[in-house]
Amino acid sequence: MKHPTSETFPQNVQKALGDTTLRQALSTVSATFSQRRRDAVNDVPEWETLREHAHAVKAHTLSCLDEYLRAFATKAEGAGAHIHWASTAEDARQIITSLIKPRGNVAVVKSKSMTTEEIHLNAALETHGIEPVETDLGEWIIQLADEPPSHIIAPAIHKTKRQVSELFEQKLGIEPTDDEKRLTAAAREHLRDVFAQAKVGISGVNFAIAETGSIVIIENEGNARLTTSLPDMHIAVMGIEKVIPRLSDLDVFLRILPRSGTGQALTSYQSIITGPERGEDRIGPRSLHIVVLDNGRSKMLRESATREALACIRCGACLNACPVYQQIGGHAYGAVYAGPIGSIITPQIDGLRVAHHLPFASSLCGACRDVCPVKIDIPNALIHLRQHMVTHGKPIPVVSPARGKTTFRVWRWSMTSDLRYRMATAFARFAQRMGMTKLVGPSRKWGHGRSVPRLAKRGFRQIWESELADDGEHRTK
């Protein structure tokens, strides 16, 4: 199935806004998530201190990321893991394919990983006859439906129970039901068999600890633990930004991530994995491969506004809080990472030419910044990207009059002199009287779903000059 891209954002938006089932689901789910988050945060009086702390750890790490990455790699290799550096998505796909392919026709399981979504791993493996099975319930649902995730932590958030039931009926032959326990049981039964056969497990990474060379995975379903322990090969895929300096730094993140994401005090499982099996216990996979991915991230390090976005721990709180996301959902963004943070990340991965809508797809209300557990100034980064597009960008299609250079040249001309301001506003009044406003781009766009306001007969400065200025002088004399 061909999925929409961010290049067709306006069309994606039309489709989303017309989908009443989707909008109903979004409104319920974002309200529920936001409420759970609020409750979980209110339980922690020192929440602001935790945010400051987490922000500081990330800012420090990103300021000397190369050193921490090298330290992590050395320690991880010392523990028996293999480190693979991938500068692009293609590199990562090749590395992973070449690890699995020589083993022949083996069963592969995956636990939830946005980074593997980012590199479109499943599709690449499928072209080599390898068919990985997603084992996170939400991911598995969208894999069955052949859809991309629509939310960072709840990939199938856009689907209703009825839709899932129809999907399971069609793909697994179960009886239709609206009982989520029966749906989950059907999934569990199916997936247990898959786990039993699996020879390779692919996972993401939430945190990588430089001090110990460990990777940390947090989850609620236990599927990530099975994925990383049952098969004899574990491949973990992580972005370069996942590293944190010390094991003791993990504490703050284990506290803020679940609270921000699902509103839990702690997730059900936290796995800290250091190397493959060793010693007499022989627990865990025989080999552990860690693929460390750049894919546009080191470019983000260069500017402070985008560097900050690398601190993202993928909690999804900014999506739930975003009034734009609440209207259009994740798929409209046409990218793996949706919502406010996605509008910063996607242009770095896909390029601003393709993703040119996304930095503008925000009212800059700042609700995302309020909830971000690592205090990323998302609106600031979006404005930064807009400015970057205007000053450094190759010509980018001007899709709206409020984005074009000419509009702002006229605006500048009118606003930098009192006389010109008066002339421009007098002209605007004349144009409105003559019914010419429909011809003016911004006014036409405003009139799309809104009545167009009449310009006041007399502006404030005229009223001031004729009625108010004198009053003031009399009063103060």
Binding site: P323, Q327, F360, L364, R409, M415, H448, G459
Partner: protein
């Protein structure tokens, strides 16, 4: 109010939206401030704070407009610059980013910005007045405009002022701090998302059964009012200045 004995000298930065679309907000601000003993001036050379250019990424143009505004406002001998808008008020604080590489203008911008106050913040934080002696007979709710709320931290001030209005029944509504969908150029770039965001607010406001929705930014009021008109379910909106200027 500071140690000086004279009446606070206030220079009004009226904003281009108020000037052109809803000048009654400017008039109300002048009347209110004079009633409270301020010496109010208005420099007719002023135009726009520069925000549309700043948020659209046209920083060169935004800088030119901001320089004009700084020059106009620093010519005034006022103690304070009062703005009936949280959004334009917040823009003055963004001058720091706009002029980050222009040290001369940066320090001039900082001096001007330091004197600016959004209207409700000026009344409560500077004048320390909560009861402005206003009257309104009816039920009303407050819409937190995003930039006032999140960039300037204005939350309590308007509520404190509204609670003291004689005759007014103030109710908080769900999603009072959710964006109305205006977002300046956003409303023009993506009108469909913008209006569906307004619908969320309008539905909440309708179910609250209020006579009027009050806010501190004309942009939000315009968005809500124009969308409501289009939906043929008009709502009455008032700017805080309009509400407070009616004497008891």
């Amino acid at each position: 109010m500071g140690p000086s004995s004279h009446a606070p000298r206030v220079s009004l930065f009226v904003t281009c939206l108020v000037d052109q679309i809803r000048p009654s907000v400017g008039v109300a601000t002048v009347q209110l401030l004079r009633r409270l003993g301020c010496d109010v001036e208005f420099n007719p050379k002023q135009t726009c704070c520069g925000q549309p250019g700043f948020t659209s990424g046209h920083w060169g143009d935004a800088r030119a407009v901001a320089r004009h505004t700084i020059e106009v406002l620093e010519a005034d001998r006022s103690d304070w610059i009062v703005i009936p808008s949280g959004s334009c008020g917040a823009m003055f604080h963004h001058y720091e980013k706009l002029f980050a590489d222009h040290p001369g203008w940066l320090s001039r911008a900082k001096t001007v910005t330091g004197k600016t106050r959004e209207l409700s913040a000026f009344l409560v934080d500077v004048l320390e007045i909560y009861d402005v002696g206003a009257r309104f007979d009816g039920r009303l709710t407050w819409h937190d405009a995003c930039h006032g709320l999140r960039d300037l931290g204005i939350h309590e001030q308007p509520r404190q002022l509204i609670r003291k209005i004689a005759g007014a029944e103030f109710v908080e509504t769900d999603k009072c701090d959710a964006c109305c969908g205006f977002g300046g150029v956003f409303a023009i770039n993506y009108p469909d998302i913008s209006t569906s965001m307004a619908d969320v607010k309008l539905d909440v406001i309708a179910s609250a059964d209020v006579d009027v929705v009050v806010s501190g930014d004309v942009g939000c009021l315009m968005q809500l009012e124009n969308r409501a008109q289009h939906r043929k379910r008009p709502v009455r909106t008032m700017h805080l200045a309009e509400l407070l200027s009616v004497p008891a």
